[in-house]
């Protein structure tokens, strides 16, 4: 995602912070690179999350292409065994932790405050810290490539294969510590967004009037809040074993290797919903807009999302049906896994019924959303086949599973993200992505992903296991349609998919160069984020809206005829905007930029680097963290009133909540 310079926002009041309690003076610059690096603006941070996640998407995609090149023919020689193992480990790690999660964080950062009618998040500096921690964590994870080899134990990193003897390079250390850093980022982000949603809604924005995207993001943040500490414990145990001689996974000392699996999947299964629910939220915004109808069964979608969030905690052992659990546990987890299919099915039904009776407009965003409904269903249904535990013992760790979760995560999460790109691009950058190119982008991706992951169902059912750096003709079967054919199809498909994604990047560049501005309300949208300029002003809204309906913006534009129920437009978006500008609040007090988030975040990889190489470096990192923490604590989130021009004491200035995050 390219970062497109946008015109400097015009502020109703000029803010020039002059005093500071911190050790360093506050940054005041509102232009150039400093305006990005020290920003606490949720919209800038959202764009930064998006751009960084897109970069890691390309990294993970190149890893995937190398994997498919290696497997295109039997006894592949593109990668050796060691490199292949690193490649699939880092492909998964990158896609999960460095692409889908931060991309969702980017969308959440940008749109949650806008959708609930807020001017920023609850803890703006914590928000900036979260981004920098994610970025530094991602860089730290990938540094291992250049320092003796990346992690090679698979993203699930089962013990004891992750132990110091079985994985002697530093790769696993970088992996475990890097994920700790991104975990801190996720945790701070979760706390921030939860409090934002709970506390900073516009007047009248009750929970059941919140846009469904905000709802799904909220569920995801609760999942993160409780899932991240579990993986944190697991990663600590792993690091302590590798770096300090603890015995947690040392079988000779009596350790139980299944401990890791339980901890990992107690985190790992909620993680699946952490990855998919944001996209569910996005398409639940897109489908109503382009069907010209509200989301069908809004409360059902909200509660099924929450239900998925709850039941998601009780299904983790379905990743372990072959690991030797007793039959009672297997039966119980089989049942809960089937149970979670029900609320998931509810969503599919509701999306379809949202379109039913509508006035459908097949924009690229809409195409991606519909693509998600169909392709996620494929992944969901193959999921049901391995909820049947005995059948799962045939399918697990074969390509059938690879097919399943790629339909869920690519057909689900990624298509949802792309739907979001096309839908919200004009909002974020003030320009429309090219629809024609978008259509090509969509079809190439859909065809590519079906060609890549569709054959994997067949490969898996015919018995090709996962995570093998080579496959052999001895197991390939007879005839034309054997492993060789399907593997080749999958490899070709992966390159078609890559071309589809390349078209998106080209579209971004073309759009950035196109001088034409997007209209104010290009999609005739429904929720509050469209009730402001494109891109939004720094303070989001000239007037904080008061909410009377679900889809309030739509109801400000349209009125229903009491007898025919036909909706007629009564006001345009431009009129609504003009009215807002007339009534603009005079003094809007926005959180001020800060050095501390990036400095504090930088201390973290220094500490972890030191844990691997020299504890002295860790001490330096610790000092950086402590120094930054003090600077942070001593500086107030928002510059004080005295920093404002035209300040009249005691006049009851309108300002945004000042916090001490």
């Amino acid at each position: 995602m390219a970062i497109i310079e946008r015109p400097a926002p015009t502020l109703p009041a000029i803010v020039t912070p002059t005093t500071t309690y911190g050790v360093l003076k506050r940054p005041v610059s509102a232009t150039g690179w400093r305006s990005w690096v020290f920003t606490v603006d949720h919209k800038k941070l959202g764009i930064m999350y998006g751009a960084t996640a897109m970069f890691f998407f390309i990294v993970g995609g190149v890893e995937a292409l190398l994997i498919r090149l290696q497997l295109a023919a039997p006894n592949g020689k593109v990668l050796n065994a060691d490199l292949y193992n690193q490649m699939f480990t880092m492909h998964a790690t990158t896609m999960v932790f460095l692409f889908v999660m931060p991309m969702a964080a980017g969308f959440a950062n940008y749109f949650v405050p806008l959708q609930i009618g807020a001017r920023d998040v609850a803890f703006p500096r914590l928000n900036a810290f979260g981004f920098w921690a994610f970025l530094f964590g991602g860089i730290f994870l990938n540094m291992a490539w250049f320092l003796g080899g990346a992690a090679d134990g698979g993203w699930f990193m089962y013990a004891p294969n992750s132990g110091p003897v079985f994985s002697p390079t530093n790769g696993v250390d970088f992996w475990a510590l890097g994920l700790q850093i991104t975990g801190i980022a996720s945790l701070t982000g979760a706390i921030n967004l939860i409090i934002t949603v709970l506390n900073m809604r516009a007047p009248g924005m009750s929970l059941m009037r919140m846009p469904i995207f905000t709802w799904m993001i909220t569920v995801v943040q609760f999942l993160l809040l409780f899932a991240v500490p579990v993986i944190t414990v697991a990663l600590f145990l792993l690091s302590f074993q590798r770096n300090f001689g603890a015995q947690f996974f040392d079988v000779a000392a009596g350790a139980d290797p299944l401990l890791w699996q339980h901890l990992f999947w107690i985190f790992g299964h909620p993680e699946v919903y952490i990855l998919i629910l944001p996209s569910f939220g996005i398409v639940s915004e897109v489908l109503p807009v382009f069907s010209r109808k509200p989301l069908f069964g809004y409360p059902f979608v909200v509660f099924s999302g929450a239900a998925i969030g709850f039941v998601g905690w009780g299904v983790w052992a379905h990743h372990m049906f072959a690991s030797g659990l007793g039959p009672v546990s297997v039966a119980v987890f089989s049942l809960t896994t089937m149970a979670i299919a029900v609320p998931t099915g509810v969503k599919i039904i509701n999306w379809t019924l949202t379109m039913w009776g509508g006035k459908l407009w097949f924009t690229t965003a809409m195409k991606f959303a519909i693509g998600l409904i169909v392709l996620f269903t494929v992944g969901g249904l193959s999921g049901v086949t391995h909820a049947v535990a005995p059948s799962d013992t045939q399918q697990t760790d074969t390509y059938y599973i690879v097919a399943h979760f790629h339909y869920v995560l690519f057909g689900g999460a990624v298509l949802g993200i792309f739907s979001g790109f096309y839908y919200w691009w004009p909002k974020v950058f003030g320009k429309m992505l090219n629809e024609k190119l978008g259509s090509w982008n969509f079809w190439l991706m859909v065809i590519g992903l079906n060609l890549t992951f569709g054959p994997m169902h067949i490969l898996g059912l015919q018995g090709q296991p996962r995570r093998m750096y080579q496959w052999t003709e001895a197991r390939a079967g007879e005839g034309f349609f054997n492993f060789a054919f399907w593997n080749l199809v999958a490899s070709i498909g992966s390159f078609i998919l890559a071309v589809g994604i390349l078209l998106f990047l080209i579209n971004v560049v073309i759009t950035a160069r196109n001088p034409q501005k997007a209209p104010l309300d290009p999609w005739n949208a429904r929720s509050l984020e469209w009730m402001t300029t494109n891109p939004p002003k720094e303070h989001n809204f000239d007037v904080i809206p008061t909410v009377h309906h679900l889809d309030d913006f739509f109801h400000q534009k349209y009125e229903e005829d009491a007898t025919t129920h036909i909706m007629t437009q009564v006001r345009t978006a431009e009129e609504i905007m003009a009215e807002q500008e007339r009534n603009a609040e005079k003094h809007i007090h926005m959180p001020s930029p800060s050095y501390w988030p990036i400095v504090l975040a930088f201390g973290l990889p220094v500490i972890t680097f030191g844990l691997i190489y020299s504890h002295l470096i860790s001490v330096i990192g610790g000092v950086i963290v402590l120094f930054a923490a003090y600077g942070w604590a001593l500086e107030s989130s928002t510059a004080p009133d005295s920093d404002f021009e035209n300040n009249s004491p005691g006049s009851g200035l309108d300002k945004v909540t000042a916090n001490h995050d």
Partner: protein
């Protein structure tokens, strides 16, 4: 309209910092839950070195646990002083709380040293690894609490705490009580329930 967007308005009526601390503590429950589960799984697995019953000094740890419990009381007094805006008393009770906390951490350091001398190293057995990890994590939490308390005392002396004083004291109080409660659970499960 003004009252909504003014100052510290919040939809729930609880300030952001306090709600944020609650969320963080919710997350911490799962962190200690994971560590405690690990300990409970491994506490009887001793292939070398002493067993739990051979080294635990229950009376000693009971006393240091009592000290930590008392620090919760003094923390409550600090919060109440903050609500009354009595700076002298805030300082006094925060300092006492930090001192009690430091006594507890000192006790833990002494205990670790004693255990180590009796042959229980970090890599001696699964019991050793999981015991030191669990209690060590708790000790680090107490230490972080002490640093926060003392920093707050220092900042208050400069009388330049950003934001509402009572709220900050209350937020640190929440953290401190949580750490105390976790210790009660750890003390019961680790020391009092025989293997």
């Amino acid at each position: 309209m003004t009252d909504v967007i003014h100052g510290h308005a919040s939809s729930t009526g609880i300030s952001n910092v306090k709600l944020g601390m609650w969320a963080f503590l919710g997350s911490e429950c799962l962190l200690f839950g994971g560590l405690i589960s690990t300990y409970m799984l491994y506490r009887g697995r001793v292939t070398g070195g002493p067993r739990p019953s051979q080294i635990f000094d229950i009376p000693f740890t009971s006393v240091s646990s009592f000290v930590l419990l008392m620090s919760s009381l003094t923390m409550v007094l600090a919060v109440s002083a903050a609500h009354k805006d009595d700076d002298r008393k805030i300082n006094l009770w925060l300092t006492v709380t930090a001192l009690l906390g430091a006594t507890f951490v000192g006790g833990q350091v002494y205990e670790f040293t004693a255990f180590y001398k009796e042959g229980l190293g970090f890599s001696t057995s699964l019991f050793g690894s999981s015991f030191y990890t669990l209690t060590g994590f708790h000790g680090v939490h107490v230490t972080v609490g002490i640093i926060m308390l003392m920093s707050l005392v220092g900042i208050l002396k400069r009388s330049s705490v950003p934001g509402k004083k009572a709220e900050v004291v209350e937020m640190i109080g929440l953290y401190w009580h949580f750490v105390d409660i976790v210790w009660i659970i750890i003390f019961t499960l680790v020391y009092l329930i025989p293997v």
